[in-house]
Structure formats: structure tokens, C-alpha cells
């Protein structure tokens, strides 16, 4: 097996380092690392190195800074570095030490230095426990770079077997945790031991500053190499009670590329052998009480996802549409809502959002993370506080019913790892009254719409007041009103008819001829009055040019009604007469039977005519 090319560069570096060590200024020799234990975790594609250091000040002066050195090749992959210091021998509460990049004079340019500022200067003879966590990305390289579906993925990791430090190190060890499985090869030095899935170097004693001996381990790692090329995380605050989060992922498998064919049957029948290097799902740990979760991409919803939730967390397992083999990529979007009160708080007149920065997806490396915080429309005095350096910008987003747009805070950071899921804050001022603006706008809009409808219905919009069609319309309106009046009159007539009928009914029951006659007289008078009322209406209707259709019907109606009246009257008088003559009921029936039928038929005709007219 060929040696990976980067090794040669490392070898060159070592040469340089030796030179550098010889010429290193002696001023830094005041500090001595009495013990250095490094634990390298290689189980995933993100390399975490925890270095426990015991530092002693052997010089005369108090020292307030501790230098950490990394070769440039490693430093450029450094995603996070954190140092915790504990003074004294007892493991007390540790403190986070601020770290910055420094460029001390007289050091070789192949090294990058970080300086941890101690909380208080280290006095002479005192010791300090220092835990340094460093996280590297892109440090595990697949080798070979292309594999078939059935092969498992082999990767290479390079580091120094000895702790690279500007200070002399008395005792040191290095232990590397491997994910298990096959180990192809590793650099053997004295005191090297491979047990189970742990590779141990050391202990080595009394090494001068800048000692470096390259080591390489070539091992099997089939854990998902999930690398997000870009993640856009949009956090939208709505003061109606929701924080909506939308995350767009562009994920690729960063491991060895698949070569040759992808066979579904192999993958399907033995997924852990044929397709061992691929991954089919990712797990996102969402905050508790996350709701309305969705998972989709540009072409629609993706139905393969699972959700578990309890009071502590919401766990979402998203499965891309297809398993990701080396070199394959996919994009998707996750969205969810969070309760507002869990993430937005008040502090002296200002509100602030307090939420984690990184992505909720586990063990993912994000090469470029863009966090956008969309504040409600009308937010002012925006302040951002992020625990690490980011590129900050502001823009404006237009969403539903926005006029001036919502202010958006854009934070951009390269190489984001799970360690960056720290809380950050966005402070802003927002007046609660602005909340009501959008509903009010809607209400006003609809109100105006209805008003416009009413106005349109009630106003005369015609342009010319003497165009034939306009005149015709006016006349038609007149005709209609006349017809309505006529209808009212006929309705009264019919009511009078009914009264007459009831009077007859009364008569047959009580035999009160007098009241019956009175009813008839009243009806007579009413008929006359109605006829008088009807006359002018009829003449005006006849004269109108628009009534040509309806006029014959009205005429017919009038005639029929008059006939009906007559018939009713005669029948009424016949009944009353025969009642006075004390005729038998049977005879009365016989006498009026014919009339009765006629009346009924007429009545029906009148009614149908009325109906016909009313329909026009």
C-alpha cells in the first residue's frame, strides 16, 4: 500500500521543527509541562483531541500566558479550541480560559500559536492543570479515495506521536480511540501498543520543546461522513407565540467515493455488508416542545422520517430519499416551530432571543453555516452577541403583509461542528402594538372592499344620462316598482276574498246573516277603493314603453280578478239569499256548486298570474 502523499510534507516539517527547536528563544523555557496526556477520538470524521497538561512554572517570574502550538497543516483544520484551567493540585472548579492567536517572535512560520491567558499569573513553583480540547475537521482522509459498494471505507489520520509544545515535556502519553474494526497499519515507535480499538503511544519522557515525530494510522471507519456544504438556518420570530426555524441542508458523504455500480439488491439484502460505508439517516435533536415539524426538499415532502419526543428533547430521524454513498449528495429542508416563551425573553426594556447557533443534526460538519434571524417587522436597536467570531450582516425580508420588511440579522461562520451549538443572543426592541398592525390592515382591507361593493351597488355609475339603454333601465325600474304596487293591491284583493269566504263560513256556523252582510258591504267598499287605486297605476304602466312584455299579463290579471270578484259576490249573495229563505243545506250546495268550481279555478288562475308577474 502506497503512503499517502501528505506524509512527505510532514517529514519536511519535522526537519524544520528541529531547526526551530535549536534556535528557539529560551525565554519560554520557564514553564515546564510535567505531564501531557493526549486522547484522540477518531470514531467519527470530526477529530476531537483532549490534552490534559500539568504545567509548572520553574522560572523566577510569574507567567500569565500559556502557548499552544500546532503545525499549520493541522491549524487550518482546527474548528474549535477550548482550554480549561484548574490551579493547584486538587481538581477544583475549572475555568474557561480565553484563547487567541499569537505570533511570537522567532518561531518558525510553519507553526501556528495560540495563547491561553491564565486567569491569574502562575507564580513560581506553582502548578496548573490545563485541559485543552481541540476539534479538527477534514483531518481524516479516505484512502483509497474510491471504493466499491461492498468495500468498507479506510481512512488515514496523521498526527505527531509526541506532544508538540514550545515547552519541555517531562512525561507524555498519547492514546487514540479508533472506531473498531480493521486497522490496516500504524506507525510503530517504541512503546506503541494496539489493544482492542485503542492505539497507545508512550509514555515518553523528557522531551525537548518542539519534539515532533509523525505518526499515521490507517484504519477502517464506516461512520457517516456527513458533511454539509452549506446550511442556511432561518429563525423567524413571531410575537404571536412562535419561533419558526427553517433549515436548508446541502449534505454530502465526504468519505471515499463510490466507484462502479450501485446495486439495490446487494444493498437491500445485506445492507451492513454491501453498503457499509454509506449512511441512510441522520438524527437531529430538536429542542423540546418543537411542533409542526416538516421535512421536504425542492420537489416535495419526504415521507421517510421518524419522530420521538419527550419532555427533554424532540428527536427527529431524517432519512434522505436515497442512501448516501461516498461522493453522493442531497439537499433537504427541515422546519419546525418552537414556543416563543422558551427562547425570547425580556431584559430591561429590550427583548432578546436566546437560541443555539449550530445545527441540531448530530455529528455533522458544516462547511458554511448561515444563520438568519428574522425579527418581527418594526424591531429596532438590534444587538448581537455571539460567543465566537462570525461575519455579520443585516438584510430585509418581505413576508406576508409586510410593508417595510422584517429586519434580518445574518451570521455566517465556516466549519461549524457540534461544539458550536452554543447559545447566542440577539437583542432588539419591539413594540407590542405593532403586532396588531397586520390584522388591522386585513380588517381595513376587507372593510374597504365591502364598502366599495355597497357603494357600487347603490350609486348610479352610468356615464350618459340620456343614452337609450340608460333610459330603458330607468323605465324598467319604474315598471318594476309599479308592478310591485299592483301586486300589493292584488294581494289585498285576495285577502278581501278570503274574508268573504270566512264570513260565509261563519254564517253556516252561527247563522248570523247580519254580520255576513256587513262583511260583504265592507268588502265591496274595499274593492272599490282598490280599483280606484289601481287605475292610475295601470294607465302609467300602459304608457310605459318597457312594459310591452308584461302588460298583456297584467291586463289579463285585472280581467280575471274582476271576474273572480263578480263570481264571489254572486255566490255570496246566493248563499245569503238561500240562507234567508231557509233552504236546506243540500240545495244550497247544489245551487252554488257550479259557481264554486268556477271560483276555485279563477282563483288558481289569478294566483298563477300573480306569480308569473312576480317572477319578472
Amino acid at each position: 500500500m502506497a503512503t499517502p502523499p501528505p506524509l512527505r510534507r510532514v517529514a519536511a516539517l519535522v526537519l524544520l521543527l528541529l531547526v526551530a527547536a535549536a534556535s528557539a528563544p529560551t525565554a519560554r523555557a520557564d514553564l515546564v509541562v510535567t505531564r501531557a496526556d493526549r486522547k484522540v477520538d477518531l470514531t467519527s470524521h470530526i477529530v476531537r483531541v483532549l490534552t490534559s497538561l500539568k504545567v509548572e512554572n520553574s522560572g523566577p517570574e510569574a507567567v500569565s500566558q500559556f502557548l499552544l502550538a500546532f503545525p499549520n497543516v493541522q491549524a487550518k483544520n482546527l474548528a474549535a479550541i477550548r482550554a480549561f484551567g484548574t490551579e493547584g493540585k486538587v481538581k477544583g472548579p475549572s475555568m474557561v480560559l480565553p484563547i487567541e492567536v499569537v505570533q511570537p517572535s522567532g518561531v518558525p512560520p510553519e507553526l501556528t500559536f495560540f495563547s491561553a491567558s491564565l486567569s491569574e499569573p502562575l507564580e513560581k513553583g506553582k502548578t496548573l492543570h490545563l485541559d485543552v480540547l481541540t476539534v479538527f475537521t477534514h483531518s481524516v482522509q479516505p484512502f483509497p479515495e474510491e471504493i466499491t459498494q461492498a468495500e468498507s471505507q479506510l481512512v488515514v489520520y496523521q498526527d505527531s506521536a509526541q506532544y508538540l509544545s514550545p515547552y519541555p515535556v517531562k512525561v507524555q502519553t498519547l492514546s487514540i480511540r479508533l472506531p473498531g474494526g480493521r486497522v490496516e497499519s500504524y506507525t510503530k515507535y517504541p512503546n506503541t501498543k494496539l489493544a482492542e480499538s485503542e492505539l497507545k503511544y508512550g509514555p515518553y519522557e523528557d522531551l525537548p520543546p518542539f519534539s515532533y515525530s509523525p505518526m499515521v494510522v490507517h484504519y477502517e471507519n464506516n461512520n457517516p461522513f456527513a458533511i454539509a456544504k452549506e446550511v442556511i438556518r432561518e429563525i423567524e420570530i413571531s410575537h404571536w407565540g412562535n419561533v419558526q426555524i427553517t433549515e436548508h441542508y446541502n449534505i454530502a458523504h465526504g468519505g471515499a467515493k463510490l466507484k462502479g455500480e450501485f446495486s439495490r439488491i446487494d444493498y437491500q439484502s445485506r445492507p451492513y455488508i454491501r453498503g457499509v460505508s454509506s449512511f441512510r439517516h441522520l438524527i437531529a435533536r430538536l429542542p423540546p416542545r418543537a411542533h409542526s415539524i416538516y421535512y421536504r426538499d425542492e420537489i416535495g415532502n419526504i415521507s421517510t422520517s421518524h419522530l420521538w419526543s419527550d419532555s427533554k428533547k424532540t428527536q427527529l430521524e431524517v432519512e434522505p430519499r436515497f442512501p448516501l454513498f461516498g461522493g453522493w449528495q442531497t439537499t433537504f429542508t427541515i422546519g419546525y416551530g418552537l414556543p416563543l416563551q422558551d427562547f425570547v425573553f425580556n431584559s430591561d426594556g429590550k427583548r432578546f432571543l436566546n437560541i443555539t447557533f449550530g445545527s441540531p443534526v448530530e455529528e455533522i460538519l458544516i462547511e458554511k453555516l448561515i444563520v438568519k434571524v428574522v425579527l418581527p417587522e418594526g424591531s429596532k436597536d438590534i444587538d448581537i452577541s455571539v460567543p465566537f467570531p462570525t461575519k455579520q450582516e443585516q438584510e430585509v425580508k418581505y413576508s406576508h403583509l409586510d410593508i417595510s420588511g422584517r429586519p434580518v440579522v445574518v451570521l455566517e461562520k465556516p466549519d461549524v461542528i457540534p461544539e458550536h451549538s452554543l447559545y447566542f443572543q440577539v437583542y432588539y426592541r419591539f413594540n407590542n402594538i405593532s403586532l396588531l398592525r397586520e390584522p388591522m390592515m386585513l380588517i381595513t382591507g376587507f372593510f374597504l372592499l365591502f364598502m366599495a361593493c355597497i357603494v357600487y351597488m347603490r350609486t348610479d355609475m352610468s356615464i350618459s344620462k340620456n343614452s337609450p339603454s340608460y333610459l330603458a333601465k330607468v323605465q324598467w325600474d319604474e315598471v318594476q316598482s309599479i308592478i310591485q304596487q299592483i301586486q300589493a293591491i292584488f294581494d289585498q284583493c285576495l285577502a278581501a276574498h278570503d274574508k268573504l269566504e270566512t264570513s260565509l263560513h261563519e254564517l253556516s256556523r252561527s247563522g248570523d246573516v247580519k254580520s255576513c252582510k256587513a262583511a260583504r258591504k265592507a268588502a265591496d267598499a274595499q274593492f272599490k277603493e282598490l280599483a280606484k287605486e289601481l287605475k292610475p297605476l295601470l294607465t302609467s304602466l300602459q304608457s310605459s314603453s318597457q312594459s310591452y312584455q308584461i302588460w298583456p299579463k297584467v291586463e289579463e290579471l285585472v280581467a280575471k280578478e274582476r271576474e273572480l270578484q263578480d263570481k264571489l259576490m254572486t255566490r255570496h249573495s246566493t248563499v245569503v239569499d238561500s240562507f234567508e229563505k231557509k233552504l236546506r243545506g243540500q240545495d244550497v250546495e247544489n245551487r252554488i256548486a257550479a259557481q264554486q268550481q268556477k271560483v276555485a279555478a279563477l282563483r288558481q288562475e289569478v294566483e298563477s298570474l300573480l306569480e308569473y308577474i312576480s317572477e319578472i
Binding site: 416535495g300 436515497f322 406576508h400 403583509l401 300589493a488
Partner: protein, 721 residues
């Protein structure tokens, strides 16, 4: 609908409140219409609820893609768009080969919503365009019904068409196709034209012409309008119903409509150059001659003289007309009827002459069951409505009768044209339903009143006093009530049926397949999108995909990759080339694929899941279409005794052609069903005949989780030694 009819039958005491009842009636009518409007929209959302807000089927994906382009790049770029992603290496002049009505509508709606500061995605607009227009169609149906019968019939028509399955099938949310807006445009044009004929108003004719313009811009079915209108005019002329109103309406609609239609690039000068549009022009000239003769007759005022004049004029006109038509056809100025037009008139034409039309399932003749499925009780109400129409014959009812009868014929010829018949069937049925219910309620009402009129008698002599009307038809009232209940029962069954059909049959996007699992749960097969998304993400952006044309639009829209052929079947030879490649041996196919620069081949295979509309079942059409152009491909080579089979007894050419190999590659190792041998094809129900398939020039690139879509990579040519 019942509310309106019930209103007319208000009891007598309410008569005095006439004005108020009028207003109430208006209120009821408007609210009923509003409810119908909402119902029409809501019933079409089943697909969104059951699946998701997505574009359905095949053609809508093209429409969606073009709409996206339109809203991104603006109209003039859209108009001049040359699409490199389809019909490789020919490309397609998209702007000149589509009906832009739908895309422009959706883009305008989107812009309008944006202007109202509603931040909606264009996809949502596209998904909801069809339901929105279906809801608008109900309004048009109401107006149309009122125009031809009365407002009651209008309301019933609106209600019927709101849920009519024949219409819903093409207008559910997500079916973003031309038909979605075209049926609205069609009905609107017809309504405005009838209105113009009824009023003789220039304004309505103008409106009708614009309606026609919209229809032309939206759908190729406008040919139906341009042939139905002259036919209608001709019938009116023959039946002696010619009037000035008709003259004004037809001439202005035709001339203006024609001029407007020429603005659509895809239609161009067809109105004066194509045989399909000649009927309209002929009737246009006929109307002029008719008018002229009318005028001469009036001037001459002499029957004998006029007769001789008539003879001379008619001979002249007919000679000139035939001559013009003959010369036009002979010189090629007037194009002959297209195959599609022939296949409409003659159901057997496509089968014999144009396999590419016959291969589409929605172009098959309609089965009785699907008539029943799509129309339900309307199928019985339709003849009843025709009876009512003939009973009260007017210009408007003649129109609807003609529309109904012709569209019913076309619906019988092609399944998809049930859609065109649906509005006519709904309107005519609405007339039947409304008129029947109205008659029945009138009967019941008069009966309920009669005791009142008779009550003037002394109680002892009641029996004798019963009216003569009453005695003539015993139990009339009871029968009327029973009939009314029956009608309501039928109508409610219709509503139930429509809802069921919509939710069960017509709401599937056909991209996502759903099936019932063993435990009753729903199993989703999302293989199409899985494959398309894989293409989109994991192939080079200039990769060319070869597949059968059915999947072309989807691949370009969802996979964003170049295809060789797609659903716009404009170049038969190109499709035949793909068909030939699919039905050749691998090495021959490889040469064809090399010449077409194909990088990937995509096949659809249902053998694992039992998905029956896969490429093996479509394969004979590929053979036929390929063989139609390249006689090397012979259909009998793929059949055994005229039988199409894939098992051991299959034809050797079948067992070794590219399509067979790609579908069944390594399928022989898979056990699909318990108790069956490996390689058991669940669609065909047989064990496949060739289990040992080796691919030489292709390699499996991706197969979806249920094997429905299989993608193969074409290997680069070997180094020449």
C-alpha cells in the same frame, strides 16, 4: 338549489311581505352560490390533504417548469425560450409550441398575490389554480343556467358542476394542466356567446370573442368551440331561427376571436389556413350571403324574380366556395385535417394510423363504467333535460342541446373528453332536476291550499264539494311528495358518490403511490421522486437521460436533466429512435445511445411492487412506434403466437432486448413473494424467463427502494487499441 325553488313556494301569509321575500331570495341565492363556490374549491383539496401540495402526473410538470421560468425571467424571455433540456439534440422552441394561457394565468395570480404582500410560493399558486378556476366555473355555470332556463336551474347547474367527478378528475389541487383553466374558458365563451345571441348586443359578442381568445391561449380544445359555433349557427339557419341578433353575435365573435387567436404563436394563422377551422369561415361567408339575400328579397318584393336571383347567387357562391377550398387544399395553403382531428371523428382511426396517440390511455374510447363513474345520476337526468329543452325550445336551449350531444359523442370517443362533456351534462341535467322539482313543489303547494278554498262549506257536505281537479288525479299530493323525496335521495346519492370518487380515485398525484400495507396502514411508494432527486443531485448537470417519453417532463422538471424525448410528442421519429433503442439488443442499442449522447437510461419497473403501468407493459407500444419508422423492428419478433409474455416461453428477441435486460437486471436473484421462486414478476404473475442477465455496455447506477425506477449508466466507449 332546493332553497331557491322552495322560495317560490312561500305560503300565502308571507305574500304581504313581498319585497322582503325578494330580498331574502336574493340573499339565499347569493349565499347558496357562495357556498357552492367554496364547496367546489374545497372538494378539490382532497389530494392536498391525503398527500401534499404537489404537482400531479406528467404534463403538469412541464407547465410548472414553464411557469417557474415565466415568473423568473419575464414574459418576453418566456416567449422566446429555446429549451435545450428536452428533445436532445433538437431542443424545443417552447414559446412557440405551447398554449401560454395557463402559465400566464398562474404567473399573474402569483404576481397579484405578491402585490397584496402575500409571500406565497409559485408552486402553491400552481397547485391551487385548477380548483380556483373550477370554483369560477360554477359561477359561469350559474349564469349560463340562468340564461338558458332560470335562476333555479342555474343554481342546480352550479351545484352539480361543483362536484361532478368528470370535471373533478382534471381539476383537483395539483393537477396543473391546461384543462383546469380551459373548461372555465370554454363555458365562459359559450355563455357569453349565447348571451350575445339572446341580446344581439355587440358588447356581449365582444366579451365572447375575448373569452374565446382566452380559451385559445389555454388549450387546443378551442377547436371544439370554433366548430360548434358555426354548427349551431347553421342549425339555427336551417330551422328558420335566423335573426339580426345571431348575425351580430356570430360575425363579431368570429372575426374578432379569429384576429385575437392569431396572436397566440402556437395557433398562428391556422384560423385561415387549416382545414379544421374552415367550417367557421364557411359559415361566416354563408351568413353574409344569407343576409344579402334577405336584403335583396326585401328590395325585390317579387317571389318569382327573387327565386331566379337566388338560383344564380347560390350557384355562384357554391362554385366560388368549392373552387377556393379546392385550390387552397391543392396548393397546400389550407392544410388538411390532422390525425388528432380524424381520431376524434372516427374512434378507430388512431389505432390504425397513429400509434403514438393510441398508446396514451386517456385517448382510449370510453367504457360505460367510466361514464357511470364520472356522471352518476346525471346520465339519467341528461335525457330528461333534453326533453325539457325540446319542450321549451329557444335559441339558448338549442345551443345547450347541441353542445350536449356533440360533446357526449366526443366523450364516447376519448376518455379525456368526458371533461368537455361534463359542463353540458351538468347544465342539461340541472334543467331536468330544477324543472322537475319545481313542478312537484308547485303541485304540492296548490294541493295544500285547496282545503282552504273548500273549507267554506258546511262540514256535512265536504265530500261532494271536493274540487274536480282533485278527483282527476288521486293521491297526486302523496305521489308528488314521494317523487320529491326520491329526487332528493338521488341528488344526495350523487353528492355522496362524487365525494367518494374524488377522495378515492381522483386525488392521487400518481407520482406518489399509496397502497395498503399488511397491517392496514398506508404504505407510500415515493420511488419516482427518489429517482428524480437522485438524478438531480448525483449526475453531472449536463447528463442526458434516455427514457420512454412518458417520463420526459418529470425528469426535466424534477430531475433537472436533459432528456431525449418527452411528453410533447412533436417528433415521432425521435420517439421511434428511442423505441428502437429500447427494443434492440444491447450492442445495437449502445450505438444508438452513443449517437444520441445518452449518459443514463431510466426505466420504470413494477415487478417488485406490482405497479402495473410500467415499461414492460408499455413495451409493445415502443415496439410499434419504433417499428412504424424503422422497419427493422418487427412486432411479431417480440410475441409468441401473438401472445406477449416475459417468462421462459417468451420470444428470444424479447428476452434479450435492452428494455427486458434493464428491467430484469439481477431481478432473478430477488424473492418478491413468499412461496414463489426468485424472479417472480408480480405484475405479470410469472417467473421471468431470463434470470442471468449480463450487461456489457451499461451498469446499474441507481435503483429505487422499491425497484420502481431503475437508472443505468452508459459506460464510456472502450479505449481504441
Amino acid at each position: 338549489m332546493a332553497a331557491a325553488t322552495a322560495l317560490d313556494s312561500l305560503p300565502a301569509p308571507l305574500r304581504s311581505l313581498r319585497l322582503k321575500t325578494k330580498q331574502q331570495e336574493l340573499l339565499l341565492r347569493v349565499s347558496a352560490l357562495a357556498l357552492i363556490y367554496v364547496l367546489a374549491f374545497v372538494v378539490r383539496l382532497f389530494s392536498v390533504l391525503r398527500y401534499e401540495s404537489m404537482i400531479h402526473e406528467f404534463d403538469p410538470y412541464f407547465n410548472y417548469r414553464t411557469t417557474l421560468f415565466l415568473s423568473d425571467h419575464g414574459f418576453s424571455e418566456f416567449w422566446n425560450w429555446f429549451d435545450f433540456e428536452s428533445w436532445y439534440p433538437l431542443g424545443r422552441v417552447v414559446g412557440g409550441t405551447l398554449f401560454p394561457g395557463l402559465m400566464v394565468t398562474a404567473a399573474l395570480l402569483h404576481r397579484l398575490l405578491r402585490a397584496l404582500s402575500l409571500a406565497v410560493h409559485i408552486r402553491e399558486v400552481c397547485v391551487l389554480t385548477a380548483p380556483f378556476f373550477a370554483a369560477n366555473t360554477t359561477l359561469v355555470a350559474y349564469a349560463f343556467g340562468r340564461e338558458i332556463w332560470d335562476s333555479g336551474a342555474g343554481l342546480v347547474a352550479a351545484a352539480l358542476i361543483a362536484v361532478c367527478p368528470g370535471y373533478i378528475s382534471r381539476s383537483v389541487a395539483g393537477s396543473y394542466d391546461n384543462e383546469g383553466v380551459a373548461i372555465f374558458a370554454l363555458l365562459l365563451t359559450f355563455y357569453l356567446f349565447v348571451r350575445a345571441v339572446n341580446t344581439g348586443s355587440l358588447a356581449w359578442s365582444l366579451a365572447s370573442a375575448f373569452g374565446y381568445f382566452y380559451m385559445v391561449s389555454a388549450w387546443g380544445g378551442y377547436v371544439f368551440i370554433i366548430n360548434l359555433l358555426p354548427l349551431y349557427v347553421l342549425v339555427l339557419l336551417v330551422t328558420g331561427r335566423y335573426s339580426q341578433r345571431l348575425y351580430v353575435a356570430y360575425n363579431s365573435t368570429y372575426v374578432l376571436g379569429m384576429l385575437l387567436a392569431m396572436q397566440i404563436r402556437f395557433v398562428g394563422f391556422q384560423h385561415v389556413q387549416s382545414g379544421e377551422h374552415m367550417a367557421a369561415m364557411g359559415v361566416f361567408f354563408l351568413l353574409q350571403v344569407f343576409f344579402f339575400l334577405d336584403w335583396v328579397k326585401y328590395l325585390l318584393n317579387d317571389a318569382k324574380l327573387f327565386k331566379s336571383f337566388l338560383r344564380i347567387t347560390l350557384t355562384c357562391v357554391i362554385t366560388v366556395g368549392t373552387l377556393a377550398l379546392g385550390i387552397g387544399t391543392a396548393s397546400g395553403y389550407i392544410s388538411p385535417w390532422t390525425g388528432r382531428f380524424y381520431s376524434l371523428l372516427d374512434p378507430t382511426y388512431a389505432k390504425d394510423h397513429i400509434p403514438i396517440i393510441a398508446s396514451v390511455s386517456e385517448h382510449q374510447p370510453t367504457a360505460w363504467s367510466s361514464f357511470m363513474f364520472d356522471f352518476h345520476i346525471l346520465l339519467f337526468l341528461f335525457p330528461a333535460g333534453l326533453y325539457f329543452c325540446f319542450k321549451r325550445l329557444s335559441d339558448a336551449t338549442i345551443f345547450i342541446v347541441m353542445y350536449g350531444l356533440t360533446s357526449m359523442y366526443f366523450a364516447g370517443v376519448m376518455v379525456r373528453l368526458i371533461l368537455v362533456a361534463a359542463p353540458a351534462v351538468c347544465l342539461i341535467s340541472a334543467i331536468a332536476a330544477s324543472a322537475t322539482i319545481k313542478n312537484l313543489t308547485t303541485l304540492i303547494r296548490t294541493k295544500s291550499k285547496s282545503p282552504q278554498t273548500v273549507s267554506g262549506k258546511s262540514s256535512g257536505s265536504k265530500a261532494a264539494a271536493k274540487g274536480a281537479v282533485d278527483q282527476s288525479l288521486p293521491f297526486q299530493q302523496n305521489v308528488a311528495i314521494a317523487l320529491l323525496l326520491g329526487a332528493f335521495y338521488l341528488l344526495s346519492r350523487y353528492a355522496v358518490h362524487c365525494t367518494w370518487v374524488t377522495s378515492e380515485a381522483y386525488s392521487s398525484p400518481s407520482i406518489v403511490l399509496a397502497a395498503r400495507g399488511h397491517n392496514g396502514g398506508r404504505v407510500i411508494f415515493d420511488d419516482y421522486r427518489e429517482a428524480y432527486y437522485w438524478l438531480r443531485q448525483n449526475t453531472p448537470s449536463d447528463a442526458k437521460i434516455m427514457s420512454w417519453w412518458d417520463y420526459g417532463y418529470q425528469i426535466t422538471a424534477m430531475g433537472n436533466r436533459t432528456v431525449i424525448v418527452d411528453n410533447n410528442t412533436w417528433n415521432n421519429t425521435h420517439i421511434a429512435t428511442v423505441g428502437r433503442a429500447m427494443s434492440s439488443y444491447e450492442d445495437e442499442a449502445y450505438e444508438i445511445m452513443q449517437s444520441l449522447d445518452v449518459n443514463y437510461v431510466l426505466v420504470v419497473f413494477g415487478g417488485v411492487t406490482g405497479y402495473s403501468s410500467d415499461d414492460i407493459n408499455k413495451f409493445l407500444w415502443m415496439v410499434r412506434i419504433g417499428g412504424g419508422v424503422f422497419p427493422v423492428i418487427k412486432e411479431p419478433d417480440y410475441l409468441v403466437n401473438g401472445e406477449y409474455r416475459v417468462d421462459k416461453g417468451a420470444a428470444p428477441k424479447m428476452l434479450n432486448c435492452l428494455m427486458y435486460k434493464l428491467c430484469y437486471y439481477r431481478f432473478g436473484e430477488l424473492t418478491t413473494e413468499y412461496g414463489k421462486p426468485p424472479g417472480y414478476d408480480r405484475v405479470r404473475g410469472v417467473e421471468i424467463g431470463n434470470k442471468d442477465i449480463k450487461l456489457e455496455y451499461l451498469e446499474e447506477a441507481f435503483t429505487t427502494s422499491n425497484w420502481i425506477v431503475r437508472i443505468y449508466k452508459v459506460k464510456p466507449p472502450k479505449n481504441r487499441s
